[in-house]
Symmetry: C2
Subunit: 380 residues, 2 copies
């Protein structure tokens, strides 16, 4: 099994672009990655495109006008993990030796559903049909967590304040404005205890990653970032009571990822985690092993997950501020991880970053805590 | 790179089932495959689900009520090649050694768009928007082919008559009725020269394949069918004049598949090809190397592609009669190939079948002859 390296990354600025074709966003991300690698388009041997809602043959539609057709293209869907599921398939193709160089794209355009912030998910899911939409689900998780561990709305707000602080340092983020605790706590209630500023936005965007072998990285003279782990798992089906203060899926997936990398939570220099709602980031601190059960509030109070802290989380602004075009998110997390490990993250640089973890999870359907969770670990 | 075997297959009868949930069809196909293998559900380590129009997280939705969650599930979309693209990813996972046993599902429910026979494809494609829908595209191919090689509508009708003859022997086919040349030629004109009986139907259905290693096949005591080749390619982008009498994509993909298998067209005992329209089957006889350019009509006149002929094509009835629930088709072709190679194809058995080829191609977008073509070769 060959080692795989990220040779290049590229993305669009996330935001709301209702008038821009989705294919055009994809092409910008791909060209940015190709430029970053300094290679030819023809060096890409195979492409995987992850999208939640981009429609049929999106990879082919993106590559067509770039003259990059005539080679294998596979479109992948796994809700919020669509982009990193595509990434995993690209890593697999290179590990197997099927190709030397693969492109993974993550992309979505949620403003196709309107700009009002709601995405009409088609579902036959009985719980969603009865009102268990994402904000409601996370609100229940928040309530349970607060009950179990004595966390408060202030801790949730601290997650959002940190996201905005970091997002303000990221020129590709959808939101680049610092906010204070009072603004977060005083914003409109979406699903008690989650206020508007504790929820990620909808939006549009694309990100791309070029994967290759050690030999090619050396040949191209680019800084290769090694893929130390690539793991995908799905949630378990459970009826009846679920302990919403614990995220079994992320806990299980991260254990497999640490095992594959031969590393542990103590080795992680920074993490990009799936903070779709403020409570999610707190749950994932614990599920990823950055602290024990109920200790997320302590991490926040001590500033340990700030860019300057012990274990910086979401230096790129997270889903909350970089934005969350579903399929694009996981690949954008990898862009941030790569920039951090190369020391190219500008004002939001985590000093001495050596190991980065990305975590994308999503697709809540009845009884599953999530349909797909993917964790990748990278080293420089 | 490890060899991969098909341990088991299963499918639903294709047809129009507007009142049946898509997940339920998927579960039937999966259970049929698991029963065919005589294994436990927990033996499936990873799942790939190919669908064109099944919506988000379809694999997860299918496996949920089967208690088969908690392991990696990846959803794949590649138009008519969705199912076999999922198959290829499953083969890749086993070749790499990531898992020993994988499940590939192909599935779609086209009656969700109504039962009138039209599927409202979302597209930003300029040619499709101007009327270049699939029947129109294939009609142009037919006209060009007839002009180049002197084939007639009668040859097109012969393809359909053969499909119906074979479909009548397949209890899982959507159409199981023998028709004559006059019926085909006299049916309603859809896109000149293609009449209604020269076009595949829309419909619903699911198919599933269990892939595993040589060791597991022996351990389970099932007849293992070896995967000798698994190739995916995409069409090249061309503007201006295209020679519609030649299918460059299938020609290129089949060359790669023959090379991977170390076999040639002369070694194929039977083929399941993508006869979405009667002309397509004729084009693919040539693209797959079963005869030279312009010679497809000779194969038909001599009965060489009949079940009893030199190179039987679509013994299962093809897309024309087995039906064409987009994502399900490629995996259903593999079911037929496996039954034929095991000698379990009943009245439609190809005597002495040793090597089977399956060919799925689809997704016409401007300038691409097709977005995704997948060819697999199997040996017993």
């Amino acid at each position: 099994m060959r080692d795989v390296y990220v040779a290049a990354v590229g993305m669009t600025r996330f935001g709301k672009y209702p008038d821009r074709p989705i294919e055009d966003m994809g092409r910008e991300a791909v060209l940015n990655a190709i430029t970053d690698a300094g290679i030819q388009r023809s060096d890409i041997e195979e492409t995987f495109c992850g999208t939640g809602f981009g429609g049929p043959l999106l990879g082919q539609r993106i590559l067509r006008d770039l003259g990059m057709t005539g080679r294998p293209i596979t479109n992948v869907e796994n809700a919020c993990s669509s982009g990193t599921t595509a990434l995993r398939e690209g890593i697999t193709a290179i590990r197997l030796g099927r190709v030397d160089t693969a492109l993974a794209i993550g992309i979505d355009k949620l403003t196709r559903f309107g700009t009002g912030g709601t995405v009409p998910l088609e579902t036959t899911d009985i719980e969603v049909g009865q009102g268990m939409v994402m904000p409601a689900l996370y609100a229940m998780r928040a309530r349970r967590y607060m009950h179990e561990y004595g966390a408060t709305s202030k801790h949730l707000a601290m997650v959002s304040v940190k996201a905005h602080k970091n997002g303000a340092l990221n020129p590709l983020a959808q939101f680049q404005k610092v906010v204070d605790l009072e603004t977060v706590l005083g914003s409109r209630m979406i699903a008690d205890p989650l206020t508007l500023y504790m929820c990620c936005p909808t939006g549009d965007g694309a990100a791309a990653v070029i994967l290759t072998t050690k030999e090619k990285v050396q040949q191209w003279g680019v800084p290769g970032i090694k893929v130390a782990a690539s793991v995908l798992q799905s949630g378990r089906y459970e009826t009846g009571f679920r302990n919403m203060a614990v995220n079994e899926l992320t806990t299980r997936t991260s254990k497999l990822a640490y095992e594959q990398a031969g590393l542990g939570p103590q080795d992680i220099s920074l993490a990009e985690v799936h903070d779709a709602f403020a409570i999610a980031e707190m749950l994932y601190y614990e599920a990823l092993g950055f602290c024990g059960a109920g200790e997320a509030k302590n991490l926040l109070e001590r500033g340990e997950t700030e860019i300057t802290g012990r274990i910086p989380v979401n230096p790129g602004g997270g889903l909350k501020c970089r934005g969350h075009p579903v399929g694009a998110t996981g690949v954008a997390q990898v862009c941030e991880a790569v920039w951090q490990l190369r020391g190219q993250a500008g004002q939001r640089q985590v000093q001495g970053a050596k190991v980065a973890l990305t975590h994308a999870t999503g697709g809540g359907i009845a009884g599953l805590d999530h349909g797909a969770c993917s964790i990748h670990i990278f080293t420089n």
